[in-house]
Subunit: 273 residues, 3 copies
């Protein structure tokens, strides 16, 4: 199948809604409620479970895991590593969202340790991807000052070295496995002004990992979110109601709305790498 | 008085609004904001206080306590037990929401330890009540795959063994003290698609425990929420705005809206036990 | 310049929007999402970073810090003190929001220890200011039972003893450096019924500290919030949508709306001290 085909993407979404995968999230304190609501609206079953003592038991029943390093502390880092190992051992997919990597040594070290545990996928903004690639100075706290275009090359190299699907999101989103590259357009300019919507997207991508191959899962998750985001943002006078509207758009999303609100296309890797 | 009478239920709500009880919550990270907003909209005064070091001081000034095990860690478990003991020693009511019990051994153990400290009331979904009754396999993460009807017998036995009022919520809610049984209908199908609304309900029931006898308090809390939920959900196109609409409905709830949006009736225990 | 002039206040806000300061928040679990959204809507760049291990690195890149003691634990207290020291050492401004001081000894001790580290500014409700001034019994959990008027004298004395700008907020807000006093009217009666809006205001004031002298920063932050709050609350049927409307009002706020929705005036200190 062609993962850039809106019909294939919607099939994938239909599968998510039908199977209702249980997705464990080690989320951050800012994003927990938002990620849970995004997953529920999309049709998945979210669980926010972070104790190291629960990692073994929960990895047995959940279908996939999202690890988000947004609000770190040494205890949580320990839990993240144990959970990543549990999912790895069971051959279940997990996604890393390296929030704010580049801003502090704790974040750099944690992201490196988690990447060494071989995440199935990594989703980040341009500044974070550049920081992971060793290009310091591109992050400003947790927001990116670089455009996603500037990070495509770094994303491809990261995908190759980490053996993971890498998604770099921004005005245009890019997904790569190190060989193939897909670009997704959509979303809404208000999205960066509502906190943790990127974290919600990471959780949604983890849900798609439960129902599709990794490359297809990330392309589908980003496209569904891009379409829903565009629908959600239109007509709003500011960012306040965006999370609620985004959940409504995810909940109601129909097949025709994907092609109408997002553009997905395969790109030659040679152009950017 | 007859606790299934809408007028009595509204009297109870009026008392809550007038006395504005201070309710301590050891909530989970997903539900904190929602529980606080539900309590404020209903007219109570919420406090999210979880440190073991504060349990003694805070139990002296608060009227009731809600303990929610949604996002656990060993430190928090310790705080929960200390807080439960403080309220027990002072003869002040407290409620347990055993989120996700059945999913991990840490949750099973924590719920058992807290029930041994004799909560005034327990509120849970069907899967959680069945797990507490030793019927494994009924939970899927934190969502229930079983209907509330299937857990009424287990709820009655739990009420008897724990000496607590037990509420099992779902499409129909049930409240029992082990002898009497009350069924409540209302709410809205979108409610399970917005995270932590069950946690908010638990906090609200804890507030009612500050102004009424336990059985009456739980029946009143569940009925008020069922009516407000039905009002909140009608007219929505998805789950996104439901928490905000629920708060507005609680804030504005008038006596006539209770009978119009919820149905409360006593049931013979023999029918189900 | 005259810090009570709406044009000067809006200039200050324009500076914030243009420079987009990175503001570190050691927020509480209830307020994290709200504070982040308030900062984003106002044009600042929020970061919720609480690990002691990150304090040194993050204080190097952020412009200001907000410390909120709403949900305490000993680990977090340690982080707060280390972060306050980092900002103090670098001469960068930080603000303290002593949520619930007066309710427990842990809060009293933590607030005292943090004030000893010389915050640039303190923002609190009347009960908290009275508690800091040693007048016990004025708090009820985290809500104030005293009006802001009753705490102006205590605020002036606290500003003098702590060497900080002190803001006491309520129906009327007051800002003082111990010599001068400014009163601000605005806001909306629904605001106390939506959780953590005071915490969001503290975070916003911390953002203003990055772009103005402390007295001007606090007057500007409180006035902008008072105007946006009044706009946000009008037309609402309850508190449910207030956080979203407040963000929209902050995002769209124009110069003329400040004078139209808030009243700022210098008051003679002698009248109240």
């Amino acid at each position: 199948m062609n993962p850039t085909d809106p019909a294939a993407i919607f099939d994938c979404y239909r599968r998510l809604r039908e199977t209702r995968p249980l997705v464990q999230n080690i989320a951050n304190f800012v994003s927990m409620t938002i990620s849970a609501n995004v997953l529920l609206a999309a049709g998945a079953s979210p669980a926010m479970v972070h104790a190291a003592e629960e990692a073994e038991d929960f990895s047995a029943i959940a279908s996939s895991l999202s690890i988000n390093i947004g609000t770190l502390s040494p205890d949580w880092v320990r839990s993240m590593k144990i959970a990543a190992e549990c999912y790895g051992r069971r051959g279940k997919p997990w996604l890393l969202d390296p929030v704010g990597v580049g801003a502090t040594r704790l974040r750099d070290r944690t992201a490196a340790e988690l990447i060494a545990l071989r995440p199935t996928a990594i989703r980040a903004n341009a500044g974070e991807i550049l920081a992971l690639a060793g290009q310091i100075g591109a992050t400003k706290g947790v927001d990116s000052t670089a455009g996603s275009n500037a990070a495509v090359g770094a994303a491809i190299r990261l995908a190759q070295s980490a053996g993971a699907i890498v998604a770099v999101t921004g005005e245009t989103d890019y997904v790569t496995d190190g060989q193939k590259l897909v670009a997704i357009e959509g979303g809404h300019p208000l999205m960066p002004l509502s906190t943790a919507l990127g974290c919600g997207l990471s959780s949604l991508c983890a849900a798609f990992l439960a129902v599709a191959e990794p490359m297809e899962a990330l392309v589908s998750g980003l496209t569904v979110y891009a379409a829903a985001g565009k629908i959600a943002g239109s007509g709003l006078k500011g960012p306040g109601h965006l999370p609620a509207e985004l959940c409504d758009a995810l909940y109601n999303l129909r097949e025709a709305e994907i092609a109408a609100n997002a553009r997905v296309r395969a790109m030659p890797v040679e152009e950017v790498a």
